[in-house]
Amino acid sequence: MTSNNSHFVAPIDETPLLATDAVKTDQAPLSLWSDAWRKLRRRPLFIISALLILALTVVALFPGLFTSVPPNEGCELANSEGGPTAGHPFGFTFQGCDVYSRVIHGTQASLSVGILSVLCVLVIGVTIGALAGYYGGWLDSVLARLGDIFFALPLILGALVITQLPFFRENKSVWTVVFVISLLAWPQMARITRGAVIEVRNADFVTAAQALGVSKFGALVRHVLPNALAPIIVLATLELGVFIVAEATLSFLGIGLPQSIMSWGNDIAGAQASIRTSPEIMLYPAAALSITVLSFIMLGDAVRDALDPKSRQR
């Protein structure tokens, strides 16, 4: 076969020549989101956290399905710190109220504060971060400094000071808590959005879109933001957990939700009176809080892995 010395040629049938650059048509089309979803579905971390969150949502929306005992009625001091009895599986609080019922009914307040705060933070943070990152210039400088100021203030400490203002002391409600949390937490979201937008804004496809005649703002909305969404979604999921803890902390300190609203933070504060005699009263709301936060953080982790561009093929 090798007529000429050391000039080797492989038999042609071993490596038939393929058409240059043929399009593969054997698989179903895959968008980034369907690809991420496919990856998510296979992760146990995601399945567990998603099931937990689903369960929590059902509990928050329909607490009546899980307990027939109204949370604030029928509290009898005679039952104070009483152990579990039939119909009252977790026992009674210091005030003689049913612990199980209070934990079930507290879900709603915790989740709604968390979700509402995340929505507010998303609206404020993404808008400001995207504009600052995309347009740059003085707007960016001003917003970056403003963000730095808020950034230097840890969430809880800042909230402690703000809630000392007379207005907040007199008008405690879900909305004031949401307001305080959003006010202090948007800079982080803005910062992440800004970073993601800066990364995408110089991509060729953004320039290409502008060369096609898409306006500068149009390119931001149509091309830059959708591609910057992944870190935003991840942070939003993680922050949901953080905000629920913040609400509980503030309520525990008596500056969050008013006593009239059932929440895990209020329950933990109330259980403090019996911490030495029957610590399990504090255990139940604390466990509910921990499971909720844990499931959101697990969800955030799973979503981060699924959306990681490095794990994407080609």
Binding site: A152, P154, I156, L157, Q164, R169, T249, F252, L253, M282
Partner: protein
Amino acid sequence: MGGAIVTEGIFNVPGVGNKLYQAVLRSEGPTIVSIVSVLVLVFVVANLLVDLLYAWLDPRIRYDQ
């Protein structure tokens, strides 16, 4: 930072967090503001140290500018 208030409050640990917790319960505005100011200062200084440490460890940051 927020954690210290809760743990020290619940377990009655005699620390700054506990002091802050008591002040919040009693709505002592000035005490709260002053303790928070000190804590924020600590927080900011710690952040600054971390940033400096980054620059010290990573020559790329040091030589930028």
